[in-house]
Amino acid sequence: MLPSESAEAIVLRRKVVLSFWAVFVILGLPLWFHTTTIHRTPVPLSAIETLDNELKNGLGLSRDDDPGLHIAVGVKKNCLYGATTREISEELQRLVRTEGTSSVFSLELVEAQECSGCSMPKYTLNCITSDRTPLPKTISEAVEISVYIPSNNGSKDGSKEIIANGLYDAFVGDFLFFNKHDLGSNDRAISPTTGIVSTMYRGATYADAIHLSFTLLIALDSSESERPIEALSPEFQTEWRAHAEKIWNTLKLGELNRYVSSITFDTDVGFQYMTDGNDEWARVEQDVSPDKLSSLLDTWDLQPITLLTTSSTSSAVKVLQFVYFLPPYSTNRKSRSFTVANWGGVVMAGDSPDLPAAMRTFGRQIDKLLSPVSFSLANGSKSRKVLPHRHEFARIATIMNLRGAIETLSALSRLVTSLPEMAVPSRVRDLVDSAITEWHSAVANLRSDFDQVAENRGLRHATAAAQFARQAVFDKDMMLNMFVPFEHKIAVYLPLLGPVIVPLVAGLRRVIVESRKKEP
């Protein structure tokens, strides 16, 4: 039998046990509670929801005189063939989102200086100053952005459509809010100038001056050179011009006078005098049946063109020619073909050409000259043309960044709400507050600096808002501590504290039992 403990030993043992418990209770428990408490800094969820609603309601940017978008796209040379426009798209995105001081007025498609005949065209973006000197991908005071495309030895039908579609993909698909993009509905579009969701989208013309030329070109055989050619009667010329004006009116070009500084057209009658292969031109009055010409003109099927609002973007005069070429009598004049010339225009040949098709092509060329980027609404409405202007790009990017920021913040609010055990450091709250502050600055800039593009302040604030929002969501302390199940915590605490608790509890129990035994 073990000897009983002395009183001194019992007191000493109690001191030891209680000293263990003192450290455990005074230091251990508070530290355990402090280090395992999930610190959740309150995130301004209501403010985030308010911003979301504000964006959906158009950011309060409505203006009565919204001029729409402006873009200047012209085709200098038709030497295109199908190729990816991803480079164009990415480069333009970069320019829009990073460039702060340049102002771009037009986009021109010009023939590339190099890579002639390349099978794989390469697109490079260069900036052209007012004197048309290209700058290698540096933007200082550029007034134009040009897309250089490689030349093609031969033209192809629809090449303008190809580049136009490419531009559409580049500008419309990536920058602009169209119904084909994710806006929640195919019927809506957000105006990049106002931010207002609408079903209509307006574009603008490109050229300040347009010159349309309707040319009747009659080739003469050498065998006919001696045949007297009656002078074209004034009536014939009048008839020709009348029909051209009819075309003009049919195209409703007259309405463009509001937006284009000058639109001219002429109706020339030209003769190609072919003598032993000599293509010397000679203007000779010739007797051509006006009735025949009139009948030809009457059958032209003209597509109406929806006119667009615009603003002047370029001082270049664009010329488009429609040529009706009558081959020599000796040649087969039964061809129904027409060609689209490299220089832009339609050349119709033969006695019985497909005039409706030729005129439709010519009409589309005029469309593209005026507003070359076209797209179709998914609801089957007629095509709209959009010509975004440089500062609109900045506004577009600003709104895009604001949209990205609010989507990110909304995701954060959903994350915080759905995971109550997720820690939210104070840093996240600071980042959210910063994002909201930048948001308000960006919107204020959008509202006040409608026509000011010099510093793109709104774009900078919106970019900062999006960046702060991303940093808040992907904060490492929050993401790393996102979810630790309670069972996992128990599995960690038990082996850590169990071996300590057992002797402590046993020792304390013995002390308590002894104390109770002593009580009478």
Binding site: S6, L12, W32, H34, T35, T36, A423, L480, N481
Partner: protein, 405 residues
């Protein structure tokens, strides 16, 4: 002190000076071993901090230097007498002197009134155990600043044993300033300081206030040197919150390398609390043997501190050598010695396999640190048990011998 002891001092000095002279690169080789030096005691980092301090930059800004600022003053002073290169004459002599003074203090402790009544080893044996301990020799040659911290701690014990309490408090404050885990020794030191006058509230308060004042004075040195108290986070904060996960002979680094960040603060506090929680109970239980209480706490901190070194084991063994009277009751000496020996031999090999050859991994080295800890635990529990047995035996009929079956 007898002639043999002085001869041991001389021989140890000759040995260490010879090793430094014959093998000039030995200090750098040993300095690269994580068993010998850590980021808290590295001489190389001390040199970095000293250079930054001399050119007017705070040595705590770079994240390299994490030691007490008083070391900068000390080595700057030594620099006036010569180069502070690890193998320079002044540094050689200084470190040899530090070891000899530590051995001197140990000899003085063995002859103190606290241990006079017990059976003691000869002074020269005690000095030899410390001076010729390979762990101590290696640490000394590697120029670890733990040599200086332990010298201050041993000096504090020696002065306390001779009732020179003020000096003891000063040395303890100095040791605490350089190695914060020495703070844990304050309760058993109180027992020593009040052993003659009695542990009254007044005396306890007096020593506490003096200790705090001394510590504050040393802390203010760092404040005036760096211009702010931010150095505290680079020194004590770095040690307490375990910011450097470099491998060492401790148990912390492996845990924290693989731990989720969510649990890191909890584990840090629990691990620090684990070494603290034993201080008061051991002090209470061994109130009759304050020196043994100090030794036990030194042993516990050796295995539970965040950046342990083999120097700590050397000091612990040297302190244990003062208690010859418990040796007959120690049961697992051979086992513990073999475990420790195997772990010390294998540790550098496994580290080399892991880091340099790439044919091992962290588990190799960590397993050896676990074995090392088990060996230390065996020693601590065995010596504690032996002490309690001695205490029990002493209270009962002294003519009877307790036989453990």
């Amino acid at each position: 002190m007898d002639l043999k002891t002085w001869a041991v001092f001389a021989a140890a000095a000759v040995l260490k000076l010879s090793l430094n002279f014959l093998f000039p690169s030995l200090h750098s080789i040993l300095g690269q071993h994580v068993e010998v030096m850590t980021s808290m005691t590295s001489f190389k980092q001390l040199k970095e901090g000293l250079h930054l301090y001399e050119i007017g930059i705070s040595p705590y800004d770079g994240g390299v230097y994490h030691q007490a600022p008083i070391f900068l003053l000390l080595f700057k002073f030594l620099g006036k007498f010569g180069s502070t290169a690890p193998n320079s004459p002044i540094i050689n002599v200084f470190y040899v002197f530090a070891d000899i003074i530590t051995a001197y203090f140990l000899c003085a402790i063995s002859k103190s009134p606290s241990l006079a009544k017990t059976n003691q080893l000869a002074e020269w044996v005690i000095a030899s155990i410390y001076l010729f301990n390979p762990l101590v020799v290696a640490t000394n040659i590697a120029r670890s600043t733990a040599v200086l911290s332990n010298a201050a701690m041993i000096g504090s014990i020696a002065y306390a044993c001779y009732n020179r309490n003020i000096l003891s408090v000063m040395f303890l404050a100095l040791a605490s300033h350089t190695n914060i885990y020495t703070v844990y020794l304050f309760p058993p030191f109180l027992l020593l300081w009040t052993s003659t006058t009695g542990a009254s509230m007044a005396s306890v308060t007096k020593y506490l206030i003096f200790y705090i004042a001394m510590s504050a004075g040393l802390t203010s040195i760092g404040y005036f040197m760096t211009g702010s108290l931010q150095y505290l986070s680079a020194t004590y904060g770095f040690l307490l919150f375990f910011n450097d996960l470099a491998p060492n002979m401790g148990l912390w680094w492996y845990f924290f390398m693989e731990m989720f960040d969510f649990f890191r603060p909890l584990f840090t506090y629990i691990f620090q609390l684990y070494s603290l929680i034993y201080v008061l109970p051991i002090t209470f239980r061994l109130h009759n043997y304050p020196l043994m209480a100090i030794t036990c706490i030194v042993g516990i901190t050796t295995i539970s501190k965040s950046y342990p070194e083999v120097e700590d084991l050397g000091v612990y063994i040297s302190l244990l050598s003062l208690f010859k009277f418990i040796f007959p009751n120690v049961r697992y000496a051979l086992l513990a010695a073999l475990v420790i020996l195997h772990s010390l031999v294998l540790a550098p090999n496994f580290y080399h396999l892991w880091i340099y050859l790439g044919s091992g991994n962290a588990n190799f080295f960590y397993a050896i640190t676990l074995v090392y800890t088990i060996g230390m635990t065996i020693i601590i529990t065995d010596t504690l048990r032996a002490t309690l047995l001695i205490e029990f035996q002493g209270k009962e009929d002294p003519s009877k011998t307790v036989i453990q079956i």
